[in-house]
Symmetry: C2
Subunit: 124 residues, 2 copies
């Protein structure tokens, strides 16, 4: 059975290391990368590599939570880009050969909370 969690960790580590050969080897040639928040889609490993290689700024990624089952995995990771930082999530689908066939990113942004019932919520 594919160790999807380990492969998901390798995905993030090879991306962080800009080890493009190792990173590409995890995916099918026709991998699909989607960003639902901006409704963007990139088809194919080559285009996806170009997207990352040319991404502006000195970005850094480090995993916080990794969960995998037989066919899927998720990494909740911390990111840094210049003076900004936050948490994001990337979901993976794996094919029967253990290669990543889809990648989906979510980049949640900070927000100020709305009014909440008195006394329920603390802030950090």
């Amino acid at each position: 059975m594919t160790d999807t969690a380990a492969l998901a960790r390798t995905f993030l580590a090879s991306l962080e290391a800009r080890d493009w050969a190792a990173w590409e080897d995890l995916m099918t040639p026709d991998v699909v990368y989607e960003l639902p928040q901006s409704r963007e889609r990139i088809r194919g490993r080559a285009a996806y590599r170009t997207f990352n290689e040319t991404y502006p700024g000195e970005w850094q990624l480090s995993p916080k939570v990794v969960i995998g089952d037989a066919q899927r995995a998720v990494v909740w990771f911390a990111w840094r880009l210049n003076d900004e930082a936050g948490d994001a999530q990337v979901f993976f689908d794996f094919n029967a050969a253990g290669k990543i066939s889809t990648v989906t990113d979510f980049w949640p942004e900070p927000y100020e909370p709305p009014a909440r019932p008195e006394g329920l919520v603390e802030r950090w």
Copy 2:
């Protein structure tokens, strides 16, 4: 071994059904609920129930992707609230007895994409 994915599905289904007894039974009494984007934290099942019971609007939740391992799970779900809709993610930690001890939500918002290298990205 705890079937964390099944329990995560039950969490979402009981919340959707407003079956508060079934929903509470999945968690430890001192469960911690966190919203990292707004840096909000709620301590305890009773306060967390009040938070949800009093949440304004006719919200609906349906699971899209559920992934679980021995100790953690995630649900990527679709939500509707009045005329709005989107995707969100909820992460769970389970204790040795199979009860949820922490819940963490992310609510990513739509955004317009920045300039991208020509020809790489399609929109949907």
